[in-house]
């Protein structure tokens, strides 16, 4: 139903409407957990996490009727694998609001080893001291290498090492869907 125009072959895990429903559910969970939208800020991890953060903010605004701060963050300079991280350009981080003493939700498309989230937390803390840092992901595929867990998950997908998750988003890929694909290599984050 969703992967009609996709060039990537794989098993559809989430269709467009399932992605939409998952994000609306996560928005409600965020409000429940934080007792409302007061002070809440979302920071997406580049690049697909930024689009997802904007959609979550849209859902929160639709429910609560008040604007939510959204930022985008490139954790590349904080990663622990320079020889891989340094092969792609560093993108500007856009956090144009104060994170000090506010609950900040990091948003990413796929949670895998947890190393990107570790780097993102370090990057975020360079901008101030949030009251709390929470994590929302569209897909948790397991295989954690650090003691990190997500607070809000669209879907848990047990995967094998030779599989990867491809998240397609309307804004970047022309359609919404999440695919499970086979790959000889590790998924690049």
């Amino acid at each position: 139903m969703a992967s009609g125009t996709s060039e990537i072959q794989g098993k559809v895990i989430l269709s467009a409407s399932e992605v939409r429903r998952a994000l609306i559910r996560i928005a409600h969970e965020m409000l429940e957990r934080n007792g409302g939208p007061q002070g809440l800020a979302l920071v997406g991890i580049k690049k697909r996490g930024v689009q997802i953060a904007h959609r979550l903010a849209g859902a929160l605004e639709a429910i609560e009727g008040q604007p939510i701060d959204v930022g985008g963050l490139d954790p590349r300079l904080y990663r622990d694998d320079l020889e891989v991280a340094g092969t792609k350009p560093v993108q500007p981080t856009e956090i144009n609001f104060d994170v000090e003493n506010r609950p900040v939700v990091l948003v990413d498309d796929v949670l895998y080893t947890g190393r990107t989230i570790r780097a993102a937390m370090d990057a975020l803390i360079d901008f101030g001291r949030p009251a709390s840092i929470q994590l929302a992901v569209l897909v948790d595929r397991g295989h954690r290498e650090l003691p990190i867990r997500a607070d809000f998950v669209g879907k848990n997908v047990p995967t094998a090492g030779n599989e990867a998750i491809r998240v397609l988003l309307q804004e970047l890929d022309g359609e919404d869907s999440v695919l499970l694909v086979r790959t000889p290599e590790e998924e690049s984050v």
Binding site: D74, L77, L82, V84, G86, P89, V90, Q91, T93, F127
Partner: protein
């Protein structure tokens, strides 16, 4: 080093690849990439000039510079990207902005930066360049930044060291990070350099800035017009292979006319003993940029200068500090560009070990 002034003309493949060991004491004139393509395979671990850097790679460095500029605008200007890495700047020539720029770039990325200047090192005791470099390498240098008065010296060093080497200016040959920061500065104002008229005016013969800029600007599609005293124009310019789009102007007016960017070069008074010019006064009158001449360029055209400026000689003070000058911005962008370069090369160095 024998090569001094024909770097523009011969698109040589410098003997700087890791695969080639052994002393390289002669210049590689006559060696073109087409005769030795195996020496050039993909992204290099060194940045010695822009002639061998692909347009895609230049674009990636410029995009990464956007990210680095954002880091420089933060309250906490420090990241752990190169924590535990050592960058050595080895300067055999006087420099303020370039050395400080590299040092700041390395420190913002979290590296340890060690500055070595020739006048305060064992070079004054007669140590050779090769032995100096070997000494530094045995101390585990992760990136070596070198400036040297002899053209080609960084190529020689790069062929003898495993660490990535950045050329911070060699004689009259190349200054690639200056060309990258000039590209970045133009791009940030004009949206790109493709199709823009860039006038480069002054002493092209002795200018490493101009040489690297010719490569960078033409690769990215700019229309480059050059003008200067006939005695200070490299004769090889006319038949330089790969420098398509470089035109010699017949007059200052023709060079500046409708230009999007006017890039003035420094008259290197320390190199003028050879008698290329009758007098500084005449130079200023014929080849200097003043407000009247700048009016011939497009409205809002950018005025650039690699510094340090000889105000009143190649550029009048009112133009140098006027609304169209982006000279201080060039310096600021230099730090971000060098961060992008150091980060990219340190990653390549790390992956090779």
């Amino acid at each position: 080093m024998a090569r001094t002034r024909n770097a523009v003309a011969t698109r040589e493949a410098p003997p700087a690849r890791r695969s080639r060991k052994g002393p390289v004491t002669k210049t590689p004139e006559g060696i073109s990439p087409s005769t030795q393509p195996e020496l050039w395979t993909g992204p290099d671990r060194h940045l010695l000039d822009l002639d061998h850097v692909s347009t895609q790679e230049i674009t990636e460095i410029l995009r990464s510079t956007d990210g680095m500029k954002e880091v420089l605008s933060r309250r906490v200007r420090k990241t752990p990207a190169l924590r535990g890495k050592t960058i050595v700047t080895l300067f055999f020539e006087a420099s303020t902005r370039t050395r400080v720029s590299f040092e700041q770039a390395g420190k913002v990325l979290g590296a340890d930066v060690i500055n070595v200047t020739a006048s305060a090192s064992s070079v004054t005791k007669g140590e050779s360049l090769l032995n100096t470099v070997r000494t530094l390498e045995s101390m585990h240098v992760d990136v070596l930044v070198i400036r040297h008065p002899h053209s080609g010296a960084p190529y020689f060093v790069a062929s003898h060291i495993d660490a990535p080497v950045v050329n911070a200016g060699d004689g009259t040959h190349a200054h690639p990070t200056q060309a990258l920061l000039d590209l970045y500065t133009i791009e940030s104002h004009l949206g790109g350099v493709a199709g823009k008229k860039i006038a480069i005016i002054g002493d092209l013969l002795y200018s490493r800035v101009a040489r690297s800029n010719l490569w960078g600007l033409t690769k990215m599609g700019a229309n480059v017009v050059v003008y200067g005293p006939p005695t200070l124009m490299p004769p090889e310019l006319d038949n330089a292979e790969g420098l398509d789009g470089v035109v010699r102007a017949a007059s200052m007016e023709e060079a500046v006319d409708e230009a999007d960017v006017v890039m003035m070069l420094r008259i290197q008074r320390e190199r003028q003993a050879a008698g290329h010019l009758p007098s500084m006064r005449e130079y200023s009158r014929v080849y200097g940029l003043n407000a009247r001449r700048l009016k011939l360029a497009k409205p809002g055209a950018l005025v650039m200068h690699p510094g340090p400026m000889n105000e009143g000689i190649e550029i009048s003070p009112d133009v140098a500090h006027g609304a169209q000058a982006v000279i201080e911005e060039q310096v600021a962008n230099g730090v971000a560009v060098r961060m992008a370069v150091l980060y990219m090369l340190a990653a390549r160095g790390a992956s090779g070990r």
